[in-house]
């Protein structure tokens, strides 16, 4: 099929060859434009004399050494791990519990509930930050890491429930029925039969929440206040405010350290993740 597509139709007519050349030229241009900003990030992080522009570096590991101390980057990254790890675990457990009755039972209000969830996935979280902040003030939750983690867990919950329900629908009910016949309760059947089968799907949900929370800046910026609790996103912003335009190399090094977990996790689950996001975009996979 691919052969037909790439070779078969373009049998060496000169016009086709020119247009193919033009297409490659356009693609090269786009690739360069997209690559250029990355060049600074990677080169400046190992450049002893880094500026805002990308240039051949005067190699050093000094930028990484300089930012790798407890207060500058390690504590913020640990905070991010706690905050986002907590959010991802809560989100996944709550989503699995909610998905079970939605996937397995005939419930009268299921349809409106699922539509409401899908509707909620479209609401901009940015918009509710002001009322959420007011609520946190009233309940004296401002500057609380657990409360912020719960909010981060809820921010992606509607989408997670949808995804999890989809994965659970894919596990045949007959397997559970077999477990029930053997005397298992429906909780045991869920734990022993359904969950192992949808483990890859749940990993996608957890990673999706984790990456979303890891990259979020506004939520912790508004809801957390003391420097000891700030996650890496806020730590990086504070660092930039203090030394950024003076210490471009260190800014880049900190950025690389902070981005690495998100990028690596994405690479690990990217295939399944792409499927998940297509679902979010409304394409049936």
């Amino acid at each position: 099929m691919a052969l037909v597509r790439s070779g078969g139709l373009s049998v060496a007519s000169p016009r086709r060859r020119t247009s193919s050349f033009l297409v490659h030229l356009v693609l090269l241009g786009v690739a360069l434009c997209f690559a250029a900003p990355f060049a600074w990030l990677l080169l400046a992080s190992v450049d002893a004399d880094a500026g805002p522009d990308a240039r051949l570096p005067d190699w050093t590991a000094g930028n990484f050494e300089a930012v790798l101390d407890w207060e500058t980057s390690i504590r913020p990254i640990v905070n991010s791990l706690l905050l986002c790890g907590g959010a991802a675990v809560v989100n996944m457990v709550v989503a699995v519990l909610a998905a079970y009755p939605l996937s397995r039972h005939r419930l009268r209000f299921k349809r409106p509930f699922l539509y409401t969830l899908l509707f909620a996935t479209g609401l901009p979280i940015t918009a509710i930050m002001v009322p959420v902040y007011e609520m946190f003030v009233r309940l004296e939750l401002v500057d609380s890491l657990p409360a912020t983690a719960l909010f981060l867990a809820t921010a992606t919950l509607p989408f997670s429930i949808w995804l999890t329900k989809g994965f659970m629908d894919g596990v045949p009910v007959s397997l559970e029925e077999a477990a029930w016949t053997d005397g298992a309760s429906s909780f045991t059947a869920l734990r022993r039969v359904v969950l192992p089968l949808m483990a890859p799907g749940m990993a996608v949900v957890a990673v999706f929440t984790f990456i979303g929370a890891w990259g979020n800046f506004l939520i912790p910026f508004v809801l957390l206040q003391s420097p000891e609790k700030e996650p890496a996103a806020v730590g990086l912003y504070t660092f930039f405010g203090q030394y950024g335009t003076v210490a471009y190399g260190q800014l880049a090094a900190f950025s690389v350290l902070y981005s690495l977990p998100a990028v690596l996790l994405y690479v690990v689950v990217s295939r399944r993740m792409a499927r998940g996001f297509n679902l979010g975009g409304g394409i049936k996979g």
Binding site: H24, P52, L97, A98, L118, A120, P124, I128, P158, G281
Partner: protein, 312 residues
């Protein structure tokens, strides 16, 4: 969307055929227990704030601060103040320009173009473009912001390239701030549209286009009359999602320009942040939040209409 099916006798293996209605209701209530944690979280952190902003937008609750005992109904005062503010009027315009230019035209158009151009090309080519696009999208938003700041700032990479080519090199962030944040958001978010369109195009059976080609349709006609109509649904849903995402962009603009210079790039989220957290006008901030929510809700409803998800 059809109506809810009438209650039918339960056929589940688990349900005992008990004649007593009470047991059945208890059972069906028991089935809802696993939904409770989700319902609780969504009620506290989602529904609560939304309802609160509706309430606060029509009272002076937010203005009088957290200690206020009873709030007074003030009607539309928060909104008349808001819409009387020139800065808010511009913020709306800035948001529309930003959403149309960077979301609808930029991300959506470029994503579609790239998906079409890369169709059936060599695998390495698709991979190279894919890694670059998705890389920009996976980076934490604030890192993307700093990276683009370094790219666009005076003496940054773009300046170095343009000067090297003896081309005019303006101070992008100061002289063309809106264009800069638009380009930044295209860099940041095109991956999503590209993935949606690539998946949609992959699902078109090759035979359909081959048939059109045999019938003598040239490349452009095939594109306009065959390919694009086939991915119409993907286009509509993508446009909705991209618009919703673009409306809510905060961090990228905050890092690049902070809404400036002199408000040139102050979109509604930036304006809301300034009012609520810089000037502590929580009443105003809440009214803006409600406007943003209403716009988001409208697009979300449209999205549901287009998507028509199969729920069962």
């Amino acid at each position: 969307m059809s109506t809810t099916p009438p209650v039918r006798p339960r056929l589940d293996a688990e349900a005992p055929k008990s004649p007593a209605g009470g047991a059945r209701y208890r059972r069906s209530a028991g089935r809802l227990v696993p939904l409770l944690p989700a319902a609780l979280l969504l009620a506290v952190f989602f529904l609560g704030p939304v309802l609160w902003s509706v309430y606060a937008a029509f009272t002076d609750a937010a203005l009088t601060g957290p200690t206020a005992r009873d709030a007074n109904f003030v009607g539309l005062r928060n909104f008349t103040r808001l819409f009387g503010d020139d800065r808010f009027a511009w913020a709306i315009w800035a948001t529309v320009i930003f959403a149309v230019a960077s979301g609808i035209v930029g991300q959506n158009g470029l994503g579609l173009t790239l998906a079409l151009l890369l169709r059936g090309r060599a695998r390495w080519l698709r991979n190279v473009i894919g890694v670059l696009l998705v890389g920009a999208w996976v980076l934490p938003e604030i890192v993307a912001g700093f990276t683009l700041y370094a790219f666009f700032t005076a003496d940054g990479s773009l300046d170095a390239v343009l000067t090297g080519l003896h081309l005019p090199s303006p101070d992008w962030l100061v002289e063309h701030p809106m264009l800069t944040v638009v380009l930044a958001n295209i860099w940041r978010g095109t991956a999503f549209s590209w993935m949606v369109y690539t998946a949609a195009l992959d699902e078109i059976p090759q035979e359909i286009e081959d048939a059109a080609a045999t019938d003598g349709a040239d490349g452009w006609r095939r594109l306009v009359f065959v390919t694009l109509p086939l991915i119409r649904r993907a286009m509509l849903t993508n446009l909705m999602v991209v618009t919703l995402q673009t409306l809510a962009v905060f961090t990228l603009i905050f890092v690049l320009t902070g809404g400036g210079p002199s408000g040139a790039t102050e979109t509604v989220p930036l304006y809301m942040y300034q009012q609520a957290f810089r000037f502590f006008q929580l009443g105003q901030g809440t009214a803006i939040a409600l406007v943003l929510l209403a716009i988001g809700g409208l697009f979300s409803l449209l999205y549901l209409r287009v998507l028509k998800p199969e729920v069962d």
